[in-house]
Symmetry: C2
């Protein structure tokens, strides 16, 4: 299911952010996005688009490719 995918992505973003020991607010500032938007992403409520994936990756000191490299419960048949 798609929901799982967004949640998996969000958790991955959160993990990377916490590794940097920065708040959602700081991350938001670093990539020019809104704090509540970051919150929505980490909770899997947002279907982020390509451009914002690149922005996030940069702000997280990672790469877009690495940002999509996560496992998620493939409830999908």
């Amino acid at each position: 299911m798609n929901e799982e995918l967004l949640i998996g992505f969000g958790q991955h973003v959160r993990t990377l952010r916490q590794k940097l020991e920065i708040s959602q607010e700081e991350l938001a500032a670093n990539c020019g996005l809104d704090r509540t938007y970051i919150s929505g992403i980490e909770r899997g409520k947002r279907n982020v688009s390509l451009i914002n994936i690149f922005r996030l990756a940069e702000a997280l000191g990672s790469t877009p490719s690495a940002l999509l490299d996560f496992s998620f419960g493939v409830t999908n048949e």
Copy 2:
């Protein structure tokens, strides 16, 4: 700039599709998207969202991570 990013992504999609020797129409059918939408993506006119990146990756016999692993002219900065 963002435009370069979308174009880079689009070219990468096109390359992968041509390796499979399938048409845009076939790719569209394989990932449940519209033919004209695929065309737009390959031309760098579309800012694809996360869920569709995953769908494209699957239909291309690749991974989302690999799909974002391309270089693009960083006209940025």
